[in-house]
Symmetry: C2
Subunit: 650 residues, 2 copies
């Protein structure tokens, strides 16, 4: 019961802090005015940075501008998105395929931008799905999800999807230990029986993902991860908790050990091992879903088998390092020398030295082992400790000027401290209960450290009230001076756990404005109104339809029967920026389609009642948008109404 | 072909205007700085106004603060919302029931706030669904959707859901003429055969909606509407277009007549007629879905029959008034004397006098009739014309200081003009192609006219690019001076067609912060951990589960079999503001649940594979959130594993 009391104490402290109430961070009127100017982006001007935030339980990614805090887009990734028809249209439904069947939702956590030579390169954004383990790749040219891969043998894909310095690999570490392979067994017998696979997914030049190998670790809970960089390139570091292997009431039972572990993995060594035929091919079934920009269509392939590595079979590749209990973040500084572990029930930060880790490995300076994996000596791998830094450290980012910034959930603050001297130099309160933080490029060799965004987990009174359910809240700090300066509060959509930021200049000139109609290879495309038609094949009817300001072709269709399955394949003929059209059909058991210029999308309609039913454009596209509509006549199942349709030139 | 040329000309003019490109509205640096202060809401301070915006094709409502332009919440209304499980949980699925079956998407257009004595009272927000005609009511205490009613005999519920001065009625005017009753007939024979019902829905003291009657109008397209107010209280005005009754290529064929109609309806007379037994009961089938805050559960009832009124059978109740072709907005000034019609292909605004309309009715001053409905004399009902005001007028709101503000889509501007002198006093460009506009209370007797929000349909280069698909863009103007002043651009989520604004002071003290656990009447609630249990009934298993920082009870369940249908009924035991918990189950064919304090929600899981499968809390709820997890053991269909579960006190 001791642990419970400690938790209650921590909660009480947090309560005291929260009860400070509505607070503007002590800004004077004059400073507030200056802060107004710092975050204001005047009409017609652009923000300096993109911030890509995970949507958490929304399953999506949101795109914000900094410093304004304005949300520019919600990119649908793992969840159905009625706004555009993603996950409802025939072209996108395969993106939701998994070995469990169609899973229309996901829990998105850690976006990470692709890197070249340890710097953000702005090509792709990767993001993990926690619940039904998956990773997605988003194109930063189209801002659309292009690929989703399922991670087999995993559960709670949380230590994911962080990117190595040349985007060689992204990782997927299981948060929940599970039987591997899955099998029916008593939960209480998990200790030593459940496993915690860490998956390494190779990325090729076009960004495509392929599971290279799985490291079948002991059944702890793997929480967060970061790749080595610069001098530690070739290694990956993961935090683990519940080394107690408790199966129930983890808030007590997984807080028993004073220390859990960081896992240090030499992935270059493992990659070489696998390339040379090492590892064991084991059964696995997992979906790999790829969206093709030319056919505008996703295909899902059910993959079989993965290469599994026993961590004990590759000499010098896998080590545990003790860390104060129940750690969350595991962050690597720009030089690659320092690995910061955040024991989330601790007041201290443990900073490890990559050089000392290598020495300990060379000297076999072990405290013991865990399931045969060497445990390095805690004291001898430590570079230093930031003591009494705060309560509940979670995540650290860097400014490239020798400073680190750590969030403390329980004491609700961001703490700035110096690398190498381990001295705290500033602390600023957050409102309230900060989780992760983001500095653009803060997890690369070259942070672009003008702003820091704190992602807070409790919102309460920060905005006008909106009922029991609230958006989460971010706070923007200016970190160019000695002291952090709170500039602005802005609400965030879904539950942003984590974010990746990048200078707008690295992306904006490569962004696609529309799809080339000539390159459209959709199997049911109509590239001009003269190619539109309606084709019956048994009870399946395929409508090859086009849309352009401001009419559909065809816009009158007759001869549809109750019981038909009508496929509307609709091509937007526009070839200009920001001229989407929409399509919606009364009573359809799906969503509307939002179709970009040059794109084709398909919706199925199964009419159940006779009548004359309208469809229309759902996006206000022109002065005559309200006139962009049509009718479908539905006759009885056995009627002899003939198939016919209007054409523009009739 | 003449009409087509005119359209091309208008488009060319619009093109010229758009090509002016990126422009900050001519603000000097000094003014921009002052504007920064005007829109800045410092950390810890609150916005002055709520803006409720329709999400358009998102099917939802978004809540913004003014002047900051920050989005505080997306309220799911007509569309599935993976973020909270709305439309996926057992409790909310009935909200999507319609006479067509389960329709998981909607096209939300015109939010309107309830009124008392012609003033916004902040009790409810109503919003129409265009595609599968429905209206929703949202509580402004919980900011949740409480009720959805389907509108039968209608198609494209666009002239909706505007509220009368004491919330006696809201309306639903069909945008697409359809056979009434629906039947199989040739589309080309629509003229004179299709109908355009206008539905009047009565609102009772608790906000519940009931279809009182349908006015079975001729088969034109009814576009927008506003109630009379003040001196014109008791009347409703609707615009109609496609009086040509064209069925194909409406952009040409519905632009032939020089004038279409405003419909003036004396709803008090019709209500009296129906109350006295008038009208005809006709067959109709439509869903009425009500969410109960105490059981936290929606129920859907399929209703039968409505009262239909032939507009010719009630003397003095229904008139047409000519209006320049293809009108959109139909707006009534705070005094109720002036009705502003926006012929969207015109450069002029026609303003009608309620007094003159009454005189024309009294004098039977008719130009003729349409399908037996008298058409009042255009010239003799006119109060005035704002000439050469702009291109493509759409919508007018008022400031209560004698000024009106009209949006012009084609010339991309907001034009301020004086009531009674009809003189244009200011015009400001919008970026780009403005649709509707909003002044808080601007459609009531007492506008609260500090700010004006323009909702623009084309975004292009206003923000950092995000691929072919962009958010729409709003612009905030200060309208307290003689000239409108552009303060800020902010992106809006989905496609806001229309908005309703209200002073925060009218709402914020009544907003609910959590649900009272004691009042929770959910049939499967567990109000304490001691009430949790697992009950098998054939292959149905009901899990009565609770969640509190930071564990589930039970968190280990055994004895589930492949082929079972497992109902997780989960109660959040917290009783404080902003302490939601989430629940998600690996591989579940639904979304997660986000459960507010005091609330119970249910998710179904049908396990297909043996194994030990985890679940966890999806909302970062405490320092030990990562420990809030559990396991379900799934055995073979015919295994003899017994049902058992952990309890906190075991």
């Amino acid at each position: 019961m001791k642990t419970i009391k400690n938790i209650f104490l921590l909660t009480a402290v947090a309560g005291l802090i929260l009860s400070c109430g509505n607070n503007n961070g002590g800004k004077s009127g004059a400073m507030a005015s200056s802060n107004a100017e710092k975050v204001y982006v005047a009409p017609g001007e652009h923000d300096e940075y993109y911030a890509f935030m995970s949507g958490g339980y929304s399953g999506n990614v949101t795109v914000y501008g900094l410093p304004s805090g304005r949300m520019f887009k919600e990119i649908p990734v793992f969840s159905q998105f009625p706004t555009s028809g993603y996950g409802y249209s025939e072209e996108t439904k395969p993106m939701f395929n998994t070995s469990f069947g169609f899973v229309p939702w996901g829990d998105a956590h850690h976006p990470d931008i692709s890197q070249t030579n340890g710097e953000l390169d702005g090509r792709w954004l990767f993001i993990n799905e926690n619940n039904t383990p998956r990773i997605a790749r988003i194109s930063l040219a189209t801002f659309e999800t292009e690929e989703i891969i399922e991670i087999p043998h995993s559960a709670g894909n949380h230590a994911s999807s962080f990117v190595t310095e040349n985007t060689e690999y992204i990782v997927a570490g299981t948060r929940f230990a599970v039987p591997n392979p899955q099998r029916d067994m008593p939960i209480s017998e998990m200790k030593g029986e459940f496993k915690g696979p860490l998956t390494f997914i190779a990325i090729d030049d076009s960004g495509h993902m392929k599971i290279d190998f799985q490291l079948n670790m002991p059944g702890f809970n793997y929480d967060l991860a970061h790749p080595g960089r610069n001098k530690s390139h070739g290694w990956f570091f993961f935090t683990s908790y519940n080394t107690e292997e408790a199966n129930t009431l983890l808030e007590v039972n997984a807080s028993q050990n004073d220390k859990d572990y960081i896992v240090a993995v030499n992935w270059q060594k493992l990659a070489e091992f696998v390339a040379n035929g090492g590892g064991k091919k084991v059964p696995a079934t997992y979906a790999h879903n790829v969206y093709d920009e030319k056919t505008h269509t996703a295909t899902s392939t059910m993959m079989e088998g993965v290469t599994s590595i026993d961590p004990r079979e590759v000499e010098g590749a896998v080590y545990y390092i003790p860390i104060p209990k129940s750690p969350h973040g595991c962050d690597v500084d720009p030089s690659g020398e320092y690995i910061i572990g955040s024991g989330k029930l601790s007041t201290d930060l443990s900073i490890y030295s990559f050089t000392k880790i290598q020495e300990a490995i060379a000297n076999k300076d072990y405290e013991g082992d865990a399931y045969g994996i060497p445990v390095l000596n805690y004291e001898n791998t430590l570079a230093g400790v930031v003591t009494q830094a705060g309560l509940g450290p979670l995540h650290t980012e860097f400014d490239g000027r020798g400073n680190a910034y750590t969030t403390f959930f329980i004491s609700s603050e961001v703490v700035k401290w110096k690398l190498e001297t381990w001295e705290v130099v500033d602390r600023q309160p957050t409102y309230y209960s900060v989780g992760h933080l983001m500095i653009p490029g803060g997890n690369s060799r070259t942070p672009d450290a003008k702003y820091l965004v704190a992602m807070n987990k409790i919102t309460k009174d920060r905005y006008l009230p909106t009922g029991p359910e609230l958006e989460h809240s971010a706070q923007l700090y200016d970190i160019t001076g000695d002291k952090m300066e709170l500039l602005y509060d802005f609400p965030t959509h879904g539950e942003p756990h984590y974010a990746a930021g990048i200078a707008a200049s690295k992306i904006k000139d490569n962004v696609k404005k529309y799809y080339d109609l000539e390159e459209n290879n959709h199997p049911y495309v109509a590239k001009s109104e003269s190619e539109t038609k309606v084709v019956r094949n048994g009870n399946e009817v395929h409508v090859y339809m086009t849309m352009i300001r401001s009419h559909f072709s065809p816009d009158n269709i007759e001869g549809i029967k109750v019981g038909d399955k009508v496929y509307f394949h609709i091509t937007n003929l526009e070839q200009d920026f920001d001229v989407p059209h929409g399509f919606s059909m009364i009573g359809a058991n799906t969503s509307e389609l939002l179709i970009m210029p040059g794109q084709t999308k398909t919706s199925i309609w199964e009419p159940k009642r006779e009548g004359v039913w309208p469809f229309y454009c759902t996006d206000f596209c022109s002065a005559l948008h309200q006139e962009m509509q049509g009718y479908v006549r539905v006759s009885a199942k056995n009627s002899d109404t003939e198939l016919k349709w209007s054409l523009d030139d009739e």
